[in-house]
Symmetry: C2
Subunit: 554 residues, 2 copies
């Protein structure tokens, strides 16, 4: 496999949701599709965000020619600042995507050092030996694209994140003609979004939401609050349109909401007149029936405006009886308890809440099974590679492709870190590249690893106990202590006898060590303290705190 040939190397997003990043290389040229982040899972304690492991990129630094971005969601652009800090390559994307990337780079003080190249759908860029055409797709953010990457080995089609919406809000349909044209010409491999492969049928059109929202507006005399992802410009457009029909003014709540609307306005992606907007002081002046708030915080994020309103700690906005709050978004698994908490507290404040689990006020941006089949049939690839999904999604998507007629042996399930070699005699999937998750915690990138997380987990379960003791080096007499300190272990006043008992344990170990041990060894002594305290706490409380003995000899 040493002669130049086409390779695809997923660095993220295959076997997980989020963290999308993929390398396409041929000979000396390496291009990258997307550089996304992932929000931490429950067991990644204290982690802010997760980004892909760039090890393979570092090893091939000089060969990287471009980063190509399919759309502006965090799981496709969130790692770009970290990427560009290390790799100075041009970034190619459509206008809105590029504007969102710029916003992010500005925050990281990287904008002036970056080369950002604007590409429109149906345009083609050339990065030898590749030619890449951007193909318009529908998604829950405007300006998403799929890619056709012409390589010396044949054409790769990459779906991006897509759905087929035949009545999109902005009229920009999924460009099935281009997918079909490549299909007619002959496609080596299709890489397609697997997120919703477990859902039968077709996604509803974004436009359907408008109908339900309109019904709700018709019946609500009080203030209406619509919570929505700030990047879902089409959803926001519909809400703004309906607000106009019902004579409500719009208040934009939340930093990213304000920023995204500004960008969308600048680029002409939203039809929302400034005089339809109101600001905080004006809300009180209008009758309730003329107020609409658009807010972020659909996932129960702890510091979002919606959360603060729900818990009545927002300094300027109070929920009042008669308010209707519409959560127009999916409950992302893992966030459900937080979201339910918000809903319960909004009810406690007297509001009525409408969410996706009681009414159809959200549609997905990812194709369902029938759409996935349609794309496969249009593109008619020789090979099929499911992307963007957890392992079960990839397997199910492979099964779907096989059912659609792609020979099963040419449906390739690969995971992050695999290399898919396209050889004249067929594809070979090889393990071989370091890939995984790098944790970002505060300013630190990669300085919190599994070991640190294990300690955090341990500390979070039963807290810690520190036993400190100062001994005379010569006589082994106690100069100070033993002092027992605990945190996150027990409410000490409820059971003072526990730490007193622990003190006795330390003293007993010391006695035993002084009388038994031929040679005094402080490290052994500390280890024995830890062992005995562990046993003691297990016996009296069945708990396993982190135990740290500090013995100083002077």
């Amino acid at each position: 496999m040493n002669s130049p040939h086409l390779k695809i190397i997923p660095l993220g997003g295959l076997g997980e949701i989020g963290l999308n990043m993929m390398v396409v290389e041929y000979g000396e040229t390496l291009i990258i599709v997307d550089a996304g982040l992932m929000f931490p899972e429950e067991d990644m304690l204290g982690i802010d965000i997760v980004i892909p492991d760039f090890t393979y990129l570092r090893e091939n630094r000089d060969r990287i020619q471009a980063l190509i971005v399919t759309h502006g969601h965090e799981d496709h652009i969130g790692a770009i600042p970290f990427f560009l800090r290390e790799f100075q390559v041009p970034v190619y994307a459509t206008p809105l995507t590029l504007a969102l990337i710029s916003e992010k780079l500005r925050e990281h003080n990287l904008l002036q050092w970056s080369r950002l190249v604007r590409v429109l759908p149906r345009e083609t860029i050339r990065i030898e030996p590749f030619e890449i055409e951007f193909i318009q797709v529908c998604h829950s953010i405007p300006d998403g694209v799929g890619l056709a990457i012409r390589t010396p080995a044949g054409v790769l089609v990459h779906s991006g994140d897509f759905k087929i919406d035949n009545t999109p809000i902005d009229g920009r349909r999924c460009d099935l003609a281009r997918f079909a044209a490549y299909g007619e010409e002959g496609v080596l491999a299709l890489l397609s979004d697997s997120t919703n492969v477990e859902r039968e049928g077709y996604t509803l059109s974004e436009r359907e939401i408008g109908r339900t929202l309109r019904e709700i507006f018709r019946e609500c005399p009080g203030r209406i609050v619509v919570a929505v992802f700030a990047s879902n410009i089409h959803r926001i457009q519909q809400v703004v349109d309906i607000a106009r029909e019902f004579d409500r003014k719009v208040f934009l709540n939340g930093k990213s909401m304000v920023a995204n609307i500004r960008i969308a306005r600048e680029l002409g992606y939203i039809d929302f007149d400034p005089d339809e907007e109101i600001f905080l002081p004006d809300i009180q002046k209008l009758p309730d029936s003329q107020v609409l708030m658009l807010t972020t915080g659909t996932q129960g994020e702890p510091f979002s405006a919606l959360t603060r309103m729900a818990f009545n700690v927002h300094r300027k906005l109070k929920v009042q009886p008669g308010d209707t709050i519409i959560l127009s978004s999916k409950f992302i698994p893992g966030n459900e308890r937080a979201i339910h908490n918000i809903i319960n507290n909004l009810y406690r404040q007297g509001a009525e809440v409408i969410h996706e689990q009681v009414k159809d006020i959200h549609v997905s941006g990812h194709a369902y099974r029938e759409e996935l089949k349609l794309l496969i049939n249009l593109v008619k690839p020789k090979y099929f590679i499911p992307i963007h999904g957890e392992f079960r999604h990839l397997v199910k998507h492979r099964q779907l492709a096989a059912a659609t007629g792609i020979p099963p042996e040419r449906c390739v399930v690969a995971e992050n870190g695999n290399i898919i070699h396209f050889m004249p005699e067929g594809t070979v999937v090889e393990k071989g590249v370091e890939a995984g998750r790098v944790f970002v915690d505060g300013k630190g990138v990669g300085d919190v690893g599994d070991l640190v997380l294990r300690d955090r987990r341990h500390l979070s379960e039963d807290g810690m106990v520190i036993a400190s003791l100062v001994l005379s080096k010569e006589t082994l007499e106690i100069l100070n202590g033993p002092d027992l300190i605990s945190r996150g272990f027990i409410l000490e006043e409820t059971k003072p006898e526990i730490l007193d008992g622990a003190k006795c344990v330390v003293l007993e170990v010391l006695d035993r060590f002084i009388s038994d041990s031929a040679v005094w060894d402080c490290a052994d002594f500390q280890m024995e303290i830890r062992r005995e305290l562990k046993r003691f706490f297990q016996r009296v409380l069945e708990r396993r705190p982190f135990i740290y003995p500090i013995v100083v000899e002077i």
Copy 2:
């Protein structure tokens, strides 16, 4: 409100899912309905289970006459051992419920001290001034009952957890006739299960699941694994019946599965012949097409058999290609990531997985809106009190009752700790009783409170740093240290400069204190170390570890 009158005091389950416990009292008599637990939420770090606060019961110890239990789920019986340890009162329940309670009391070494009284549906017990009839209902465990509590003020009807299943597996229908009879007679108040008030229509009959399962069995040539709640005897009965049809032998996997089947067999609640069962060594001897495993672990519990199989660490059971694993249960919010992890790993082992999100292989045990309305219409209560639900469920159920015709002012939303007084002139809801959540962690009950949890949370976010230093009391010379130790904070080898820097911070503070301070104050010194280290870590890493300075003067 001093004359004897009827009071209802919810101690758990109103405003939350789980932890069900309610006091009904009149004059000098106090009876309790259910004593359930709650599994800890994500932010209750290290907590094993949660039980209700018994403070009110302690204050009224001598008046408690009985604990009446509606069914054998953990959220109704899980706190009984903790309750009976403090309050020696008889427990009334139906046979299976009582057997499950006994099992639990045996584990806690309480069985021989307990008075357990077996009651059958349609039987009435008398606890002056109350008369309580047990009314058969359908639920996801057999032998569930609702209650009709005749009091001097009128009849209370308590639905228990219920659904209306017109084709139940064991033929024991929800006893609508008794509910109707009380309705005809006149009911003071209906307390009804709100869990599924957000779901339109009717629940499917448990029997429907059989059809889907049978289809799956028909198409699977390999081994089949069905994961199910061990208490869902009707589901298990159906699986066993279908196994019989398809000539599969059944292996019972998991401690609670084995225990519950044993109990159900002893009481005649399951038709499952011992020679239809196989044991571990026999599995290999049978062809795959004749093997069925029934297992626990539907919620991705870390040590369950299913989890161990999924991660290929089960010592005796391996998943193999061709296996079909059916998760016949609900994905409980909060457990979704764990369950998805299991599913992904089962696919990695080559299995096919079927779950409720792709096929109808689970029905709920809680009534949907139409059933809830039906019960209200049968019982025709004067007052309506929604129970068993988060706050939003209670509000929605109140709205539903009002829509069904109960005057809104007689639909009473109360929460835990409220006292609902039934006075001749109407009901009064008063705050007034201590109620809440008591955490059980290992052997400790109530010794972990919010403060300890806050520390655990803090420790889990950014770990801890201990700075220790021994000074001479006279000269303030350093005798030992400063030593900096961290856990869960940073992978020290990636950035040794951080803790070195922290050491310098401590030395600087010491210098400053020695030269500046008129009077040396060790407590001030430690506080200043904490403050400066906090600032330092914030600046270099944007992290806020738990900082603990230990300064010893000798």
